[in-house]
């Protein structure tokens, strides 16, 4: 059986030379993302903005958007966002936070129920008061920050600090570009989006670790090679795996995006974007960082005993060197 190979074998791309393109490009995209975040902003869902979201389905036949809109506006709940979802019979209503403290939301729900429950089935009602949404923002932000610090600490223990810095810059890059993605697409940003961001952080680090692991292994072995050559060699060596894994994850997420239903569509979209960005940054951002920070193969001489550890790469270097020769 002829097996499928998406990644070409034994490549020798000069990835590191491309850093002169990839760095300015990524810097520009990161700045644009931050600017978008500051001046355009994300489309915060009710989890973080507070308010009420109601998902209704017409009891018989089509939903009449214009009629719903007119009726919703007459309830005196401020501007009501009316949006058709899925088939022709499903409609999403979004009502902003009501004045009058926590009780305001309750009044809004009661009014909406009264207005629509005759003709529409209430598929879901979500209402988040101002105090809860403020806390969700806080815990969401804290979660992302703590995750980054925790993983940074782990990497610092497992690798040399320059590697950890490279990994963290790559992760920040992915984080910023994901924020930019939400700003550009105006997909709803809610609690599952935080889950998406943390998973992207995890995936991004996962990618980075695989490349860095190989770089470290190569550095131990080829002490005389220049850092750029070693990094290039390592990235090329793990390239088939990088492409392969990105593809399997992409396939799974694609199924989730098209078939998983509207509730998690923005989650799936963000994840798909994140996979691409993370794969790109592990090759073009994290790895070249080692060159910029002047990491040289001889960092491993100084604390050779210390980092022998369970890294299997050090197990039998002579055999491999001979085979190569």
């Amino acid at each position: 059986m002829k097996l499928l190979r998406l990644a070409p074998e034994n490549t020798n791309f000069g990835f590191m030379r491309l850093r002169r393109v990839s760095y300015p490009l990524s810097a520009a995209l990161s700045i644009v993302s931050v600017a978008m975040f500051l001046f355009v902003g994300m489309n915060f869902g009710i989890d973080f903005a507070g308010g009420t979201q109601v998902d209704i389905r017409a009891r018989n036949g089509e939903a009449h958007i214009a009629e719903i809109r007119a009726k919703a506006d007459s309830l005196g709940l401020g501007p009501v966002e009316v949006q058709q979802i899925g088939g022709g019979s499903d409609v999403l209503l979004r009502i902003n936070v009501q004045p009058g403290g926590e009780q305001g939301e309750q009044t809004a729900i009661a009014k909406v129920r009264e207005a629509f429950s005759n003709d529409y089935e209430f598929r879901s009602v979500d209402s988040v008061g101002p105090s809860v949404s403020a806390e969700l923002v806080q815990s969401g932000t804290l979660g992302v920050v703590v995750a980054i610090i925790a993983v940074l600490t782990y990497l610092w223990f497992r690798f040399e600090w320059q590697f950890a810095v490279g990994a963290i810059i790559g992760t920040m890059h992915d984080l910023l570009l994901t924020v930019g993605f939400f700003c550009v697409t105006q997909l709803e940003f809610n609690q599952t989006s935080i889950a998406a961001i943390l998973t992207i952080v995890g995936y991004s680090l996962n990618e980075t670790v695989v490349v860095l692991d190989r770089i470290r292994e190569m550095m131990r072995k080829y002490k005389r090679m220049s850092t750029a050559d070693i990094v290039d060699m390592s990235v090329n060596a793990v390239l088939p795996r990088t492409i392969m894994t990105a593809t399997t994850v992409f396939l799974a997420l694609l199924a989730l995006f098209f078939l998983g239903g509207h509730v998690i569509r923005s989650f799936s979209a963000a994840m798909i974007w994140g996979i691409f960005v993370a794969t790109y940054s592990s090759i073009f951002i994290c790895s070249p960082m080692l060159i910029y920070m002047g990491v040289r193969a001889d960092v491993f001489d100084r604390n050779r005993e210390g980092d022998a550890g369970p890294a299997a790469g050090a197990a039998r270097p002579p055999a491999r060197a001979k085979a190569k020769a």
């Binding site: 209430f122 879901s124 989730l256 998983g260 998690i264």
Partner: protein, 529 residues
């Protein structure tokens, strides 16, 4: 590479069998599972995977104790206590007692009297949690000012009261909700000042909110005479209709002494009403008040609104009575439930509410299943087309990986949510990463000219450190998501975290065994990937 202990193979097989047994109950009906659980010894876990409210449908509510209302009640009690003390100490209260935001001010102009009052009122401040609790924090700050003596509730006292209010509220809510007959309701403390309520299957929360949202404080107050002093009279709205009614401020009897309340029908008119019964103390008080006020209207007040104000025709000494008020049967029933369960110690406000109807829940399950099947199939086919027989091994490991996720969820009693399904679909893509790392490494080693067996061996050995490192980072992300996330998002963290652990077991250990067994049979001259 080729050798592995028999017991390892046996334990992997045992693990798979155990996993299959663990998830069997999830495919059976609830009745069968219950009867099975009853017949088997209790150490055998016969559990179904718990579906989150977003999948099975139901209502989730987060209620917050209204701190100002707790403080207000405390201030009122404090005022009564102060009045009592002053009476006992025979100190004239010329300036009266002024309520302040968090305490009271006793106005006393005379300096000597003020000193006396100050000494006396000190005794009202008590150690928090009673004299035996041993803490140094006290309930009140007592201070002398030019105008009089000021008593202020301390922060610690208020926090303590809020804590108490939460515990009491949970008890009351449990009684109320149980009386409604809803099943499997969860009522639990959340943080310092909140209560979480989950009711599976409930769609319209309107009725639930009526039952749990009311304080249900029942008071009996005499309707005011024109001759009553104005500062002892208050005007209360009627519960039904627009009218108001003037009643005496003094509460003659209150609902705390009720022992029972039932919906019944008025014997004369046949209208729905509520029959209540007092305990001995309440019955005596009620008897005294009704004896002394025959012919006067007596207002029945619920949460500051007058239900009705019937005229006392004759003394009611039996300790029972009826509340009428143009009720429907439903309303009378709700009132009876509320009175039986007792009053909430403080107002509760709904700060978050999420309801999912069964239709959307089922749609989500279907969509999740479809995505999982299609995503899984794509990955399976892709692995086979890329790695051939090794791809089949990876796919078998993937199947066991999914089996193990569900089995551990059933074992741990973890909740499966829609984001949880998304997490499983994501780990389908991620789980084969370990296989890919190993296989690509094997290929590389083979390209370097190693023999088949040595390439296989080196591939597994060298990829392992990378697999651990890369999975730890992912696991940390999942762990933090679990700690900081809430609700359905936690379900994602659970399935992601479990998926990472099981994927290491399956993709590394199982694949290795399969490849070793295959090698012994096939004795290939060349790596088939």
């Amino acid at each position: 590479m080729l050798r592995f202990a028999r017991w390892k193979l046996a334990s992997v097989i045992a693990l798979v069998v155990a996993a299959i047994l663990l998830i069997i109950p999830s495919f059976m009906s609830v009745e069968v599972v219950d009867s099975l659980a009853a017949r088997l010894p209790s150490f055998i876990p016969v559990r179904q995977i718990v579906l989150g409210l977003d999948l099975q449908g139901g209502a989730y509510m987060l209620m917050q104790v209204d701190e100002p209302s707790v403080v207000k009640t405390q201030v009122e009690t404090l005022r009564d206590d102060v009045r009592q003390k002053m009476r006992e100490g025979k100190i004239a209260l010329a300036g009266g007692i002024a309520a302040q935001p968090r305490g009271v001010l006793v106005r006393i102009a005379d300096a000597a009297e003020r000193d006396k009052a100050y000494d006396l009122l000190q005794s009202l401040s008590q150690p928090i949690g009673g004299p035996l609790a041993g803490g140094t924090a006290r309930t009140l700050d007592v201070a002398k000012t030019d105008a009089g003596v000021e008593l202020t509730l301390t922060d610690a006292a208020i926090a303590d009261k809020v804590r108490h209010a939460i515990s009491q509220s949970i008890e009351v809510l449990n009684r109320r909700v149980n009386a409604m007959g809803t099943k499997e309701t969860v009522i639990a403390r959340q943080g310092s000042n909140r209560i979480l309520i989950e009711v599976p299957g409930l769609q319209d929360t309107t009725k639930l909110k009526q039952i749990i949202g009311q304080t249900a404080k029942l008071d009996f107050q005499l309707v005011a005479d024109p001759g009553d002093p104005p500062n002892e009279v208050e005007t209360l709205p009627m519960q039904k209709g627009a009218g108001t009614i003037r009643v005496q401020k003094r509460i003659m009897v209150d609902g705390a002494d009720l022992v029972d309340a039932q919906q019944s029908f008025d014997q004369q008119t046949g209208e729905p009403d509520v029959t209540f019964r007092f305990n001995l103390r309440g019955g005596q008080k009620f008897g005294q008040v009704t004896s002394a006020n025959v012919g006067r209207p007596f207002a029945i007040v619920l949460d500051g609104k007058v239900i009705s104000a019937p005229v006392i025709r004759s003394p009611i000494t039996g300790g029972t009575g009826q509340i009428t008020g143009n009720f429907t049967v439903d309303e009378a029933n709700s009132l009876a439930i509320l009175l039986r369960a007792g009053a909430l110690p403080a107002k509760l406000a709904v700060v978050e509410e999420r309801t999912v109807g069964p239709g959307l829940g089922q749609d989500s399950i279907d969509a999740g299943k479809r995505a999982a099947y299609v995503g899984g199939l794509l990955v399976i086919v892709y692995m086979i087309t890329t790695y051939g027989v090794f791809g089949v091994f990876a796919d078998l490991a993937l199947a066991v990986h999914i089996l193990l996720i569900f089995a551990s969820m059933a074992l741990l009693g973890a909740t499966l949510t829609l984001p949880g399904i998304a997490g499983i679909v994501f780990t389908i893509g991620m789980a084969v990463d370990s296989n890919v790392l190993i296989y690509e490494r094997i290929r590389e080693e083979a390209h370097l000219g190693r023999s088949v067996i040595s390439a296989l061996d080196a591939g597994f050995k060298r990829a392992f450190a990378t697999i651990v490192d890369s999975n730890v980072t992912m696991f940390v992300a999942a762990l933090i998501l679990y700690l900081f996330g809430s609700g359905a998002v936690r379900g994602f963290a659970v399935s992601l975290g479990l998926g990472i652990i099981t994927s290491i077991v399956t993709a590394v250990t199982m694949t290795r065994m399969m490849i070793a067994l295959w090698y012994r049979q096939a004795r290939p001259k060349k790596i088939p990937i």
